[in-house]
Symmetry: C2
């Protein structure tokens, strides 16, 4: 266990130092926006996974940070663009970039971060890594678009919901693990295990997020409670709840939701019912299933302190309150 504590104490500050240094190389005009999104904290889940998977699969070199951080830059770029897309006023409890800096600087700073991510990866002289990164951006943007296309779609099939969260969240986390495996020169089987690990973590992560949206007070999560309902996002707690309603009640609610006819009180009442009905909890249970899949994928890795660390952070991921 002291190995594990050592790894975290070493890796997270090293990631932050690298992010800071790379941000310093950008044009001074974009730095305020970039710093705002990068230094807002965040768990550094994606670069950490790249590093841990690379080490767990035998990478012994000292050039993992540009690759790992390119995934954080890509993630930050999508956050900047999403802020505009969602019209979100808050991000991690602070004002969104577009509120502070305007849509123009936010869009362009996002583009600069996308370019930076690609440039960092290009330095590895391994087109497979560039392919993974491009695919991750493609899938993330497509997942976002799919989500918007299904706003207020109360008939959203479960598999479409999973396809949306795979695109908008899981794919990039999968790519983070995959990049680590490719950097380590892992076998095809282990590359696939790394992808399965990342995919399962990503889905579990988003399911917990979707549950927290119903239960976590804004003071803890930095986001308004019930934000998804207000924005018309159909996520698993709502899907599960709707399935329990008698036909006529479901029809009426569905109609009101679709036409954005619910008052703030209606929404708060609905949110209360969904939580009381255990549907946020059931969403966490689905997340637990995916974390079990993640553990199964991880079991294919050879034993190492890093694999143990990944295993150890999966449980707290489920229990998190923000």
């Amino acid at each position: 266990m002291s190995d594990i504590a050592d790894i975290l104490t070493r890796e997270v500050p090293a990631i932050n130092r690298y992010l800071e240094g790379a941000a310093n190389t950008l044009n001074p005009l974009v730095q305020p926006v970039v710093r705002h999104v990068l230094l807002a904290g965040g768990k550094r889940l994606r670069p950490l996974l790249t590093i841990l998977v690379a080490r767990a699969l035998g990478y012994a070199g000292d050039n993992v940070h540009p690759l790992a951080c390119s995934l954080e830059f890509l993630h930050s770029a999508t956050l900047l663009h999403d802020d505009i897309v969602d019209g979100a006023k808050l991000r991690r409890g602070r004002a969104s970039a577009h509120v502070l800096f305007g849509a123009t600087h936010t869009i362009l700073a996002g583009d600069v971060l996308l370019a930076l991510a690609n440039r960092l990866v290009a330095e590895y002289d391994d087109p497979e890594l560039t392919r993974i990164l491009s695919e991750a951006l493609l899938q993330t943007a497509t997942g976002e678009i799919q989500e918007i296309a299904h706003l207020r779609d109360v008939d959203l099939p479960l598999d479409t919901y999973f396809s949306i969260i795979t695109g908008k969240t899981a794919y990039l986390i999968q790519a983070s693990c995959h990049c680590g495996a490719v950097l380590a020169g892992a076998s095809e089987t282990l590359c696939q295990a790394a992808q399965d690990l990342g995919h399962a973590i990503g889905i579990a992560f988003q399911l917990v997020d979707d549950a927290l949206d119903y239960t976590s007070p804004a003071t803890v999560s930095g986001k308004p409670t019930g934000g998804d309902l207000k924005e018309g996002k159909v996520t698993l707690p709502l899907i599960l709840y709707l399935a329990t309603l008698p036909f006529e009640e479901r029809r009426r609610l569905a109609e009101d939701f679709r036409q954005d006819q619910l008052s703030a009180e209606d929404i708060e009442y609905l949110r209360g019912n969904i939580v009381a009905g255990g549907h946020a909890e059931k969403t966490r249970e689905r997340a637990a299933e995916y974390l079990a899949k993640a553990q199964a994928a991880l079991a294919l890795f050879p034993p190492s302190p890093e694999a143990e660390l990944i295993s150890d952070v999966l449980a707290p991921m489920l229990a998190r309150e923000k």
Copy 2:
């Protein structure tokens, strides 16, 4: 000369076919936005330059289109994001994507095109190409930001103006030529000549655009005449005009322009004065100097029908009216 006509007749439809085919592979939800920007016409200058430079420098393979078209996709992505940034209502004479499809779909479709561009280039297994593409996106976005930072800045130094147009326009055209040279496996000298060629074409292209903004009727250009003045963009015709004014007159006009105090009539009067003073024409003369630099760079290429074609299209580029 018939060689040359043959090349154009062959290459442009082939580019359009490839663009169409690649767009078809995208998620159906983004296709309307992508088609809107891609099929709006455009000269296909960037992919054409990649192809012509590659051929001129000895590339004999049949795999030039993904690379060439990745530059058109990157260009289209920046157009989509710029439409939002500029708040432009018109693009090539048609409604802008964000007016038709909303900011959300426009931002995300731009991201999808950026990802597609990177993925196409990754297939070449040549990290140098990925590096060129990433750098082009970085420079383009940075140039845009710099332009916005200097809106209404009537004291804009000439070298900052050139740095802005290098970033927002010339760099991507330079990258198009550079990619062609790298694909052809050209020597370092010829790679540099290709970059010099693209840089000079790009600057000339933007100078002509900046001149046309003052002179071309909306019915011809698809953009409102004097649009730059209205938007507060300080370009060469205005810079040259301001330098001719007596101190006090310059100070008053500068102050009004800076504070956006000019009425539509004031702006039209100012535009008339700038054109009557020959400053749009002088801007075209600067463009002619850059086209001469382009010819000088091209003179380093070995003789070929493609090099001849590039040379032949430079003069009409200066004379264009839209």
